[in-house]
Each structure stands twice: as structure tokens, then as C-alpha cells.
């Protein structure tokens, strides 16, 4: 039994409680109310005075690197990193080696996750066999085995006819198609955003149209096929405008962006900082503002981390050889608080929508809610704690955070998943 004392619960934008107690018995929330009787012999008592209690988070886009790249991350280490950041459901992308493009691989991820993961891991299957963009993968079999979406993430399905077929076919299985929008003819050889910083550093630029032209294409394909397209890691103002227009047309489109795109700009790359090399690249202040407005208006539905672990040796190299990506689980919540809530762009309740309700809805799951009778999946967060992102404090096997050295406000202090304490008072127990 766990008793959380003096909790202020935030279930959504419109649902904030007075200070109350939460009693957890086994995996469920047994009772919510004032002055629940304490029994220190039978209960673990957690004092949440001055802190918020929120439903735990769901990430619909991350990379766990198993199988094939376990030196960067594996299902166990990635899940622990996610738990440390307050995520208790995560969807891992299929660009492993071998890729998750068939039912056996989906089954493997599910099996490994049951064995080693303290949280729920949901596999995303590939759109095309071998992620080669040539033939559709067995989408139905993968769905049967437990895949919750399909994506060739890391690569764009450049063949528009194949993408159209993927959208049509996915409808039979009610599975969203997650699109990595990148016209590789436009982005070829590019390292960072094409703009001010590419001009002053001489690093090759990726034009913003590399993303937005494919966003436009996929929206049009989804409009005609009436399939569910999910545009992932949106980074440009034009993409936000296109998605807004598509929603107004009634297209079945959803979208996410990542903490780094709503907080950092291309200027992070100055000084040739490879930890700030991500794909799509960090853009401009104008894009950051457009993404925040997009989140505010509901054009962008949710936040994903695109947790992309890489080994130090893959980052401490020449800029063009450096792998793209930043880890993200452990900083996501604090980044949203620091850059959005602290700056009065959002209410704390909006974070619950962005990290819980909306991502879960996109993949067909009901939201985690802190209510009597529901599963005890929640986090306790301290909004006042300030901390510096340092390599030595990172749980993930990889330390390639674009936020290294940054001071963030707020911290995920305690994490409970299905009634089990995974993290308590900042210490990971899983």
C-alpha cells in the first residue's frame, strides 16, 4: 500500500484538485480523499506537500536501439531512462538491426520488454520491408502481434504511390501511419538548418522545404485515402500551417513535436556542437514560436521525445560524421516546464494533455487518469527544483543530450507504474 499525502492532483487543463491524499492498493488507486488514515507499518507514505501529482507520461516516438545497437541503448536501459523521466508507456521505432518489419520482430520486442522493462513498451512496426521504401511490410500480422503504429522513421517513404498504398492498407487494420517527413533530394548532404547559422559556420544546410513539401504531400494523400496520418517531430512553421489547414479540411491528421524543437534554435550548433545535431535540424526562433502556438491551438497534438541515444564515439567526431539525435526521456518534462509553463505560455494542465491524453488517443489507448478504481500510473513533480543536466546524472546508456549544461526548472521526483514505485524522491528503484 502506498499513501500519497497532501497531493495536488492535475488530471487535465480543467481538473485540478485541492490538497488531498491518494491511497494505492496493489496496482489501483483505492481511495482519494482528505485525511486518509496513516498506517506506517503497512504503508509506504510519500509526502507530496508543495508538489503536483499528475498521470504518468506516454511517448509515441522513441528509439530503444535493441536489437542491433545495444551499445547505445537497450530495452532495459531505455525503459529505465524513460521511467526516470516519468514515462510509463513508450512506443519504440522500428529502425533497429534487423528492423521491426515482421511479426516475429514485434513479438521479440514485446517478449524482451516483458522480461526486462519496468514500464510498458509498445512496438511500432515498419511501413516497408527492411525500411527500404520499396515493398509494404506485413502490416496486418504486425498489428496482430501488438504493433500500435507503422513508421519508417529515420527515413521518408519517398515513393508517393507506396505511401498512398500504406495509408489505404493501414485503414483495414485501424493503425496510424507515422510519417518522417523529409524530401531526401532536398536534404541530401545537409547537416543543420539552411539559414543564418549554416551561412556563418559553412555547415551544409537542409532547407525547411525538405520537411514541409512532404508534410503537404502526406496530408493530400491522407485527405484522399481518409487514413490516419501522424506527422512526427514537426520542426517548421510551414509544417504547422499545413497541418492547421489540413485539420480545417477535416483530414485525419495528428502531429507531434519534440522538447528540443520548442526550446532550442539552430544557434545551439554554433561552436560545432554535435549534441545539437538532430534530424530534422533545430530551426529558428520563428519556428519555435510557431510550434508553441501550434501546441497551444491544438494543431500539434502532443509531445514526443524522439529519444535517440548514440554512443560518445558517434558524437565526438567530425560534424558531418556525427550521428543525428538527442536523448530526451529524462529532460522532456522539465524542458516543457522551463520553456513553456515557467514563461506563462502554458498552464501545467496542458502538459497532461501533451504527454498523456493526446499521445494515448493517437495510438488508441485511453488516458491515464488519477481517479478511484483506475490503475495507479502517476508521477509526483516538484515545479520549483532547479537542476543542471549533467552526463553523470543521466540514466540512459548514452549521454548525448542537447541540453547538457542547461539549467532546468522542475523535476520528476517520484514515478509509480501499476502501483509499483519506480522512482522515489529522485532515486530510481527499477
Amino acid at each position: 500500500m502506498i499513501l500519497i499525502k497532501n497531493a495536488q492532483i492535475v488530471n487535465s487543463i480543467h481538473d485540478k484538485s485541492e490538497k488531498t491524499d491518494i491511497l494505492i492498493v496493489d496496482d489501483k488507486i483505492e481511495k482519494i480523499g482528505k485525511n486518509i488514515e496513516e498506517n506506517p507499518e503497512k504503508m509506504i507514505i510519500i509526502d507530496a506537500s508543495g508538489k503536483y501529482v499528475m498521470p504518468s507520461f506516454t511517448d509515441i516516438h522513441c528509439h530503444l536501439r535493441e536489437p542491433g545497437f545495444e551499445y547505445k541503448e537497450d530495452i532495459k536501459s531505455g525503459s529505465r531512462s524513460a521511467a526516470a523521466g516519468g514515462f510509463t508507456t513508450i512506443c519504440c521505432m522500428p529502425n533497429t538491426n534487423p528492423p521491426v518489419d515482421n511479426r516475429a520482430m514485434v513479438a521479440y520486442i514485446k517478449y524482451r520488454a516483458r522480461e526486462v522493462s519496468p514500464i510498458e513498451v509498445l512496438p511500432v512496426g515498419a511501413i516497408t520491408k527492411g525500411l527500404l521504401g520499396e515493398e509494404l511490410a506485413e502490416i496486418g500480422f504486425m498489428k496482430d502481434e501488438g504493433a500500435i503504429a507503422i513508421s519508417d522513421d529515420g527515413k521518408c517513404v519517398m515513393n508517393a504511390n507506396l505511401m498512398r498504398n500504406a495509408l489505404l492498407y493501414s485503414k483495414d487494420f485501424s493503425i496510424p501511419v507515422i510519417s518522417h517527413c523529409e524530401d531526401t533530394n532536398l536534404s541530401e548532404g545537409g547537416q543543420i538548418n539552411l539559414g543564418y547559422v549554416s551561412t556563418i559556420t559553412g555547415l551544409r544546410g537542409i532547407p525547411r522545404e525538405a520537411e514541409s513539401t512532404i508534410v503537404a504531400r502526406d496530408i493530400l494523400l491522407a485527405k484522399e485515402t481518409k487514413a490516419h496520418i501522424h506527422i512526427t517531430h514537426v520542426s517548421t512553421k510551414e509544417s504547422v500551417e499545413l497541418i492547421k489547414m489540413a485539420k480545417e479540411w477535416g483530414v485525419n491528421v495528428t502531429a507531434d513535436t519534440c522538447p528540443h524543437y520548442i526550446s532550442l534554435t539552430e544557434e545551439e550548433v554554433l561552436g560545432f556542437n554535435t549534441n545539437a545535431k538532430v534530424n530534422p535540424p533545430l530551426r529558428t526562433r520563428e519556428d519555435v514560436e510557431a510550434l508553441i502556438e501550434g501546441l497551444k491551438e491544438g494543431v500539434i497534438d502532443c509531445i514526443s521525445t524522439d529519444h535517440a541515444p548514440h554512443h560518445k564515439d558517434e558524437k565526438n567526431v567530425e560534424f558531418n560524421l556525427a550521428a543525428s539525435g538527442t536523448i530526451g526521456f529524462e529532460t522532456a518534462f522539465s524542458v516543457l516546464l522551463t520553456y513553456l509553463v515557467e514563461k506563462n505560455r502554458f498552464d501545467i494542465g496542458k502538459i497532461v494533455e501533451l504527454l498523456n491524453h493526446n499521445p494515448r488517443k493517437i495510438i488508441g489507448l485511453s488516458p491515464n487518469v488519477i481517479e478511484e478504481g483506475k490503475k495507479a500510473n502517476l508521477v509526483i513533480v516538484d515545479l520549483k527544483k532547479r537542476w543542471e543536466v549533467k552526463e553523470e546524472n543521466i540514466v540512459s546508456k548514452s549521454k548525448n543530450s542537447a541540453f547538457l549544461g542547461k539549467i532546468l526548472t522542475s523535476y520528476v521526483e517520484t514515478v509509480i507504474h501499476n502501483g509499483k514505485i519506480l522512482k522515489k524522491d529522485g532515486v530510481l528503484n527499477c
Binding site: 543564418y196 549554416s198 551561412t199 559553412g202 555547415l203 544546410g205 560545432f272 560534424f319
Partner: protein
Amino acid sequence: MKHLLGLKELSKEDIIKILNLAKDMKTILKSETKKTPHLQGYSVVTLFYENSTRTRTSFELAAKFMSANTTSISVQTSSVQKGESLLDTVKTLEALKTDVLIVRHSVSGVPHFIAKNCSFSVINAGDGMNEHPTQALLDMFTIRERLGTIEKLKIAIIGDILHSRVARSNIWGLSKFDNQITVFGPQTLIPPYIENFAKVASSLEEAVSGKDVVIDLRIQLERQKRGFITSKQEYYKFYGLNEDIMRYISGSTMIMHPGPVNRGVEISSEVMQLPNSTIEEQVTNGIAVRMAVLYLCTRKEGIYR
């Protein structure tokens, strides 16, 4: 000054210091023996990942004239061919007691990467599209020698601005001295936001008219296939410094080119031979500037280490 990575981060005072010292070094170049003991006992290594004749030879001669022990690593015959990483090459050079590494690489930022990972001095001899600081310094030296100043001048840079590390270093360096800089080239070769740093001319005539200095850039012919330019002939007609365009250039305007020159593409042989042209002078001045840079990189506040 431990490293010379670029002119973007170098102060105006440091640039003047280098140019003044280069003037002294040029007197050594003019002497019969061309030998000084300034770098005696120092180990200077050149590591060029791109082909180069003039820059590499210029650096090597500069180091040799100052009595350094010099070594050239040819990437084509080095461990790089066995798959050795740049980081490991750097660590090896450190273990081999290198004092100064002169590096050229096709990737922007490589000298910065090396400087972060080594204890020796690093001199950037050209990195990708980023900077070629000694080329800009020798350009500035040549301008000052000819015109008596590097301040408040009207300077045009013509050609492939997008890919040119020479253009960037010249813009960063010359901008520190209150010069008016104009750039011109095909729209495909003009990088975004360059208008923050230089005026973008709308024609070659406009670009060169009334200028004190015209710096013409080299075109890499392989860019033709990537859709940046259409043909050598068309480039010469619309963007080349030929006899027609000389009508807009006065007799006192300096015409510069970092070389090697594509004759009949960027510039005509006739224009190259005009008294305004300083192309050969630039090469000689390059040695003096590189001697000055080597000297400063091996000194702590001007005192022998």
C-alpha cells in the same frame, strides 16, 4: 594565441598584430638566406585531407624558413586509409610530440574539433565551407601593402559565395575594419542571410563599379553537375572578370584571386596580367603571413616557450 581557427573569433587587435608581424617576416623572405631560428626545436605537422599545392607548400616553407622540424602527412598513404578515426590520428600526433598542426579538411569545424581534443596548437588551413583564415589574412596584408590601409574600403567579392571559405574569412576579417563589402554571384551560390554581413549586388557591373578591391573566387567545376551553375561558358559571360567588365573597373582597383585560377572561367588571362592584378603577390605574401601566424601560435605572450 594558441590556435588560429578562424577570423570570426579573432579580434581586430590580433589581426593587426599578425599583419604587422608579417611585414617583418616579409623582410626575412627578401633576404638571401631566408632563415631564422624562431621555430627551432618545434615540430610542425601538416595534415591535408584535400589536395593543395600553394597553401601546403606555403605553410611548409614558412615553417622551414623559421627552422622548424616539419612533417607532411599524406592522407592517401596514412592510417586514415586503414580506417583510423580523426580522433585517433590526433591522439597519435599528440604522442608524437607535435607542437603545431596545420590542418585542411573538407568538413567545416574539423580544426575546432581537433583543438577541443588535443594539447598542441592548431592552425586552420581551410575547413569545408567555413574558413580559410590565413588566405584572408594574406589578402588583407596585400591590400594594406598596396593601398596603405585596410579600413573604410569598398570591396567586392565575386563568385561562389555559398561554398567559399575564402569569402567567409574575408567577410569576417574585413568587416572588423569598417569596410563596405558587396557580394555577387549566381543566386544559387549566394547563401541565406548573407545580407546581414554584406550588400548583395544585382549585377556584376554594380558589384565592381567604384570598388577599391575586387576579390574573385574560384569556381569548382564539379558544381556544374549539381545544378548550381549551367556551363563554364555561361558563367564566364555573366559572372567572369573579362575585358568587357574591365570598363567598369578603374586602374587603381586591386584585382585579387585566391587561386588556383580557372582561366577563361572566373577571370581572363588578359585581366590576370593587368597591373591591377595581385594574384602572384598574394602567393608571396602568404608565406610572410603564415610565418607570423606560426610564430604567434608558438609563443606565450611573445616570450619564448
